[in-house]
Subunit: 212 residues, 2 copies
DNA sequence: GGACATAAGCTAACGCCCGTAAGTTCACGA
DNA sequence: TCGTGAACTTACGGGCGTTAGCTTATGTCC
């Protein structure tokens, strides 16, 4: 499905003071390109502009360069992921175990529903190096911290409640758990058809959280 | 380090009947580009040709198109990975546990030593879709089967030897173990600096193999 | 209500690299 | 000598990121 780019109606110009709106539209256009199934190579400065219905140079007042668009997308989607995890945790049935599964499954679901977004969030291709771009290392380090903290929290609750064999290193355990989730999420996002049993996610969670 | 491409001596032309040599040289050039730290975008048909010291069109007698080069690289590296795992398994001390750790660590080491190669092997970007390329689904499905089989084997040996709590689904357990390894290997290959404890690999293996 | 400052976005163009097609040269080996 | 395999040169068309300068709508102020 190639959802024609036929933007007749040359796109209503934003009102004064609302120029910032375009920034969000640009990010949305980039996300849309990803969701159409193209990989990150499909997200060029020009293709984003076409999708947003604007001329390519009109992006520059909002983003310093092409990688900056990607960074903005990743930041936005990281926030979305964090929100999804939070919501799943809040809406879960009582009990640390249920919360853990809810949060972990919400993570896996995010990756399944938005494979291409997940790919650029954790696939790390969009910024080959900090040189030549306006992106700083601090930008990159800050990504995903909040979501991970949530995972540490729910895992810790399991240990406290005595339903998981906690080690002396909760943080390390959470990293291991996340790596397992990431392995599955990433592989699903990348491959056409994932082999293996349907409940492999639950297996990973049980094993890596050391549930009793 | 940009290892100059100054190929004076216009490259000795291959003797008759040795045209096939160039094929390997092209693959080697592509791998070299990856190892220089550039991501897969650095591996274009032209850049490969430059690296190999030949003219770009000279590639066509050997590869139908650019993705075919990538496929050849992936196939070659998958074989290399399989060989490395085999060797690690053979050279391991006696006992299923030692073999399991040897094989798993060999996997992780491969990814650490050759992060960019690992990325294209399992990152799945180099073939946006089977359309428009000469690559078939069968090509893709066949990748990595042999290496995975080896993992199933060593894990099965652990269960048989009674040092791991086996479930009724050995294959599924091996998938879960591999996903954990992959999560770590991939993240290390992608990120500048991997957070978390140094022994996170061993933790993953112990937990996912259900070692007693 | 009309002039005008300015924000918002456009057009045109530059230089680069890419994949690929067509036709050509070179040197080995029979 | 000469056929032919190996690799080359040249060229086309297209997409890219980015720069410079222009147009137009919008809201304000007299």
């Amino acid at each position: 499905m190639v959802t024609a780019v036929t933007n007749t109606e040359p796109r209503r110009r934003n009102r004064r003071g609302e120029g910032g709106k375009l920034r969000d539209e640009i990010i949305a256009a980039a996300v849309a390109l990803l969701d159409e199934g193209g990989d990150e190579r499909a997200v060029t400065l020009r293709s984003v502009a076409r999708k947003a219905g604007i001329a390519a140079p009109s992006i520059y007042p909002h983003f310093a360069d092409q990688p900056s668009i990607m960074l903005a997308v990743v930041q936005q989607e990281m926030d979305a992921l964090t929100a999804a995890l939070k919501e799943a945790g809040d809406n879960a049935p009582q009990g640390a175990r249920a919360r853990l599964f809810a949060v972990c499954n919400a993570y896996l679901d995010f990756a399944r529903v938005h494979p291409q977004r997940y790919r650029i969030m954790f696939g790390g291709l969009w910024t080959p190096s900090t040189e030549d771009t306006s992106i700083t290392d601090a930008d990159l380090d800050a990504l995903g911290v909040e979501a991970f903290t949530l995972l540490v929290e729910v895992l810790g609750a399991c240990v406290e409640e005595g339903i998981a064999h906690g080690s002396d290193d909760l943080y390390g355990d959470a990293v291991a758990l996340w790596l397992g989730l990431h392995g599955l999420a990433h592989q699903r996002a990348v491959v056409r058809k994932m082999p293996g049993p349907a409940d492999v996610g639950d297996r990973l969670i049980r094993a890596l959280a050391h549930l009793k």
